[in-house]
């Protein structure tokens, strides 16, 4: 069964073959100390075409649960040694089985108190004897399907996360490439233009007044052109990030942001922080970029602060705060869904942090917003970057 499941997981993601998973059999564990009853359950449930597994005691059931992935547990309440309620307690204690559907069957414990006891232990149903075969079949079938769908959702979720993570990495790489291309091609041509203008300016007195004026204007235009290319290139991917490190790149970005937005940015960065792993540096930089973009677009704040420090426990904390009007629930939903032009929004930030094994927390009220990111401090040396 496990081999089949693995095969199905591999198939998932190949689009049109996903339907195969809908036919995937799940395991139904039937627990009763009386073989005759187990046999009758088997006969009733056979036409569901699922895998039926029999356990003759609570102990055997626990053993089978540990060895198999079980979708539904159908169990008798009255059993010697370990009764159904005790077994349910033990099952629920295990993190893997906290959501496993348990259906109790009982011929004797039929009071409301008994039923309540069952539901308190996480039962999804309580069936009394005599059993109506169609009813039992229908109930088990609902939970078997639910389990199957949950498995599919989990797999799709994993696929989405992996895709999202690949997209973020590809976006970073693409931005780096475009920034580099801008620098290497257009940037160098503009630099050359600027130098030639400079040379001509040294002899500007030999030109007629209108020609001299045109040269000076051209020189200014080239300067502006260069500044704009530089801004685009730096926003796409800051060269200092790769060449010198995260802290200078953040300081330079914060200075440029303050100049463009009119928002004062205080930067407090722990100076002893050395080079971090490239993935950590780019992620923190992008989160800072996204946070400041949000401050500019939504907060109305005239100030912002960026702090980065390292704790003794080798955890790195980034905090970006503003004194704006805060983020309402509605805004949070749209931020998560849409992001901003400069990134992929809150969900993108969360994805980056999740990948680094960290946490992201947003505190927001009418006096401002604080985004706090805590991640394990992975240095460049840790991942072998020289």
């Amino acid at each position: 069964m496990n081999i089949d499941r693995r095969r199905t997981i591999a198939i998932i993601g190949q689009g049109d073959q996903r339907k195969m998973n809908e036919q995937e059999k799940v395991n139904i564990l039937m627990v009763d100390d009386q073989p005759a009853k187990l046999l009758s359950y088997e006969v009733i449930l056979k036409e569901l075409n699922e895998n039926l597994i029999k356990a003759h005691s609570g102990r055997e059931a626990l053993d089978l649960l540990l060895k198999n992935e079980i979708a539904v547990v159908l169990m008798d309440v009255s059993m010697p040694e370990l009764d159904g309620f005790e077994l349910a307690d033990m099952i629920r204690q295990h993190p893997r089985f906290q959501k496993t559907a348990i259906i109790f069957i009982s011929a004797v414990h039929l009071t409301d108190v008994d039923q309540l006891k069952a539901y308190q232990r996480g039962a999804v149903d309580y069936i009394s004897v005599p059993i109506v075969p169609e009813l039992l079949r229908a109930k088990v079938s609902v939970f078997a399907d639910l389990h199957r769908k949950t498995r599919q959702m989990e797999m799709l979720n994993r696929e989405l996360r992996s895709l999202s993570s690949r997209l973020i990495a590809m976006q970073d790489e693409e931005r780096r490439r475009i920034a580099r291309d801008l620098h290497d091609s257009v940037g160098q041509l503009v630099a050359t233009l600027s130098m030639n203008n400079g040379l001509a300016l040294m002899q500007a007195e030999k030109l007629s007044p209108p020609a001299g004026e045109a040269l000076r204007q051209n020189t200014e235009l080239v300067k502006q052109l260069s500044k704009e290319i530089r801004t685009i290139s730096h926003l796409l991917h800051p060269p200092l990030l790769d060449e010198i490190g995260l802290l200078p790149a953040i300081k330079l970005f914060a200075d440029g942001f303050a100049e463009r937005s009119g928002i004062q940015v205080a930067v407090e960065l722990s100076p002893e922080l050395g080079r971090l792993a490239p993935k950590v540096e780019i992620s923190i930089f992008r989160i800072v970029q996204e946070c400041l973009t949000n401050v500019y677009r939504h907060s109305g704040s005239k100030t912002a602060a960026i702090k980065i420090w390292s704790s003794d426990e080798k955890m790195l904390t980034l905090q970006v705060c503003d004194q704006g009007k805060g983020i309402g629930l509605e805004r949070r939903v749209s931020m998560a869904a849409l992001g901003t032009n400069n990134g992929v929004g809150l969900s993108g930030m969360r994805e980056r942090v999740r990948e680094l094994g960290g946490t992201l927390e947003i505190q927001s009220n009418g006096n401002g917003t604080t985004v706090t990111v805590v991640i394990p401090e992975t240095t460049a040396a840790t991942v072998g970057v020289s």
Partner: protein, 133 residues
């Protein structure tokens, strides 16, 4: 004695324009050129320049790393970082690496004045190899 320059930039167009700007002064000449940091270190040894003009963003070693390597060989060598990315942050790192000045590629007008100030009236600096001789 004419002043000799080593030009280090991965872009041929930039090197060409720098040559034109520097050779406009009859007392200045190009001692050598390199298109990356490693090559710069090699060319430095044979070209005996008085001043190095160095790009920042290059394949392989960046300008700051290259400057450190050059200064290990010729500790007194004046180096000008010539970059599109001139900023106070970069300048801070460049100066702490021993680079004398940072000039923006997009505002080259002050470069000649900066070079003249760096060269000063004193004798040109010698490399370690020259001293050994």
């Amino acid at each position: 004695m004419r002043t000799r320059f080593l030009i280090v930039d991965d872009n041929e167009l930039v090197r060409q324009s720098l040559r034109t700007v520097l050779q406009a002064n009859p007392e200045w000449e190009i001692a050598g050129e390199a298109s990356n940091g490693q090559e710069a270190v090699e060319v430095l040894k044979g070209s005996r320049p008085n001043l190095v003009i160095l790009d920042f963003q290059m394949p392989g070693m960046n300008g700051i790393e290259t400057a450190r390597r050059i200064l290990e060989i010729a500790p007194a060598m004046p180096i000008v970082l010539f970059t599109q990315h001139a900023s106070p942050e970069l300048e801070k790192h460049a100066l702490s690496a021993g680079i004398r000045s940072v000039v923006s590629k997009t505002d080259t007008f002050p470069m000649v004045g900066i070079i003249e100030a760096l060269l000063g009236p004193s004798e040109p600096p010698a490399t370690k190899r020259q001293k050994a001789k």
